[in-house]
Symmetry: C2
Subunit: 387 residues, 2 copies
């Protein structure tokens, strides 16, 4: 993998560049659609190329390890062949999914906790120590790795940095991530620090175990909501021989302005990252967050928002979303967005899309996901142009 910076903004840390892989290039800043189980939900590869204009996709190591199994994917010729996507593919490390079964589950947090979340968590745990939380999870974290139970059948599994590398090599994505522990914003300073230090040791072990000759390996910065930890983690990961830098974590704790908390974390990290390595922000973000995050210096993003919203009938607009399930567009001949050039907006009315959602037809999620993914591609094109 090669990363070239083509242009730097004069007014911000934004860069325009290109990531070159054996399966083609990714113009950055880029949005990476998520294909958790080796498929972007409801969208064929043909649609992803022609209707969406996607450059690349990200699959989830945890899910593919459980089903169909990384060994099976390897036997079938690797992820590219298996899912028929000949462009660049990313796999995450499994750390976030394992977190989701552990503290993520106990603390009930997604990527950006809300205020109501924060209050509920505070209420729930006000009389309990941190150790208490950990015991309620599906995971057990030790120096060696993470023992967890499958969300599918409860079976026990053990991920270590070495296991994650092996799985990701079997899957055969172009861009892969070191194994990390994602911490919750409801973890205290002491736990977050211990976890971060372990993640750093896991980063070194990932690098050592990594043998992918045609793969590029990203390290992951953790450190929670604590400035000194984020700075320390940025410096540490920057100092290792990774091809790129991932930024992980759940941002803010919902008690303040979560979006601002996320921006703060970026401001703490980005100055300490090397200019010549691409930076990926894991699991973020929404169309309203991305332009600001690019200015802070992020190159690539992956997020399920466009397809998740698409499945629930929420179409992305320049401002906010259009709720196609609400029924108010049942006789609206207009497309989702008159200015949009996507195949959904060129061919279908809000009335038809509303009908599809009301009638529980698969085509509703499909057409709306295509619009939403195209919207993200156009957003990123505009951002690249503006740099």
């Amino acid at each position: 993998m090669k990363f070239k910076i083509l242009k730097k903004s004069k007014n911000s840390r934004a860069r325009r560049g290109v990531i070159e892989t054996d399966h083609g290039v990714i113009e950055t800043p880029a949005f990476v659609p998520v294909g958790t189980q080796a498929t972007v939900k409801g969208i064929t590869v043909d649609q992803l190329k022609k209707d969406v204009g996607a450059q690349t996709v990200l699959c989830n190591t945890y899910h593919l390890y459980l089903r169909p199994g990384d060994e099976t994917v390897k036997k079938m010729g690797g992820l590219h062949k298996f899912m028929n996507w000949d462009g660049p593919i990313w796999t995450d490390s499994g750390g976030f999914q394992v977190f989701s079964l552990g503290a993520g589950l106990v603390h009930n947090v997604g990527k950006l906790p809300s205020k109501s979340h924060a209050q509920a968590i505070e209420e729930k745990y006000k009389d309990q120590g941190e150790s208490e939380h950990a015991n309620k999870s599906f995971t057990k974290i030790t120096e060696n790795g993470v023992e967890f139970r499958s969300h599918l059948d409860g079976s026990k599994h053990f991920f270590t940095p070495e296991v994650s590398m092996k799985i990701q090599e079997n899957l055969g994505a172009d861009l892969i991530f070191a194994f990390d522990e994602c911490t919750s914003p409801f973890h205290d300073y002491e736990y977050t620090k211990r976890s971060m230090q372990r993640t750093h040791r896991w980063a070194e072990r990932s690098l050592k175990a990594f043998q992918g000759k045609k793969q590029a390996l990203y390290g992951i910065v953790q450190g929670g909501k604590y400035r000194d930890l984020r700075e320390a983690s940025a410096k540490f990961i920057a100092g290792l021989d990774f091809d790129g830098i991932g930024i992980g974590g759940v941002f803010g704790d919902g008690r303040g302005d979560t979006k601002k908390d996320m921006r703060n974390v970026m401001d703490w990290i980005l100055p300490h990252l090397p200019e010549n390595k691409p930076r990926h922000l894991l699991g973020i973000g929404s169309p309203e967050d991305i332009p600001g995050l690019v200015k802070q210096g992020i190159d690539t993003f992956d997020c399920v928002i466009p397809t998740r919203l698409g499945r629930t009938g929420e179409a992305l607009l320049a401002k906010g979303t259009l709720n196609l399930k609400a029924g108010k567009y049942l006789q609206d001949k207009n497309p989702i967005d008159k200015k949009c050039r996507c195949s959904t907006c060129q061919n279908y009315s809000r009335a038809y899309l509303t009908h599809l959602f009301k009638a529980h037809e698969m085509l509703g999620p499909i057409l709306t996901s295509i619009h939403n993914l195209y919207f993200m591609e156009e957003l990123m094109k505009g951002i690249r142009k503006s740099i």
Copy 2:
């Protein structure tokens, strides 16, 4: 609409022809994919054209009347514009769906009853008269029409031949059907005869009410499993000024050889139909039935089998089906069918498709439905060539 016969078989009643409509031609014999709610389930119009090669689709009047409403479809510019399909469209009359809420529900019969069906029905009703059956249904049939309750919300509605014509004109399909009562194979001779005579009066009323200037109207032959009724119905419908002839009903009663019962019904009807009008067999058939039915003189077929099987992981093969849910193909690199040229077989392995079904991913039903619909198109191409 114009129907031209291009060639007749020397060994059978099979004909090769073409149905010309304002929205393009249908080469016959043809299979018509079903898009019940103005969408072939999970398949975009683009896929239907390019991946499947479909010539035409059939939508269901009953479903579209209830949701989004025929008036809404009319306001949105008609079915072609609404669903973005610019080829020929058919709508059925609503008769079969109304039957499904009535005797179809009470007798628990689909298009081709099985032996176990027949036994269960016989057991259930051995001490009850026919009138008893009718009272358990969601419908009330009178000379004027059918009162029924919506399967969606239980609301009351009333279909007459005049209402069905009006709805179908609002929907704006190219090829539409007269309103009829479909009878159950568990209806006795007397009821079937009375019903058929009423269907004949409804056929005359449909013709009288029909005002579609750019639409073609098909009459429907009924008469159940009784030879003299089928012959009488064929002659009566043939004698009216319809553009085409539909053949309706549920074939056989499952107590004998249902497929043979269906072939018998065709043999009773077809000799009495005019050569110069196209013949559509409603709601039939499976790949193994179609070649024989073409030889008996049928020109067009509509059936949900390819998409229904596609959704449940059953891929059509030259002989039988491949069950992609069974798990035995989880490491099979082969496509569904090595000889198949469809986009699914060209690009995806059985292993990947099995994974998609195991992982409950929408793409499994989508890709398998594309294969199954393509399979039907190829089957029909082969049949047309052979005539």
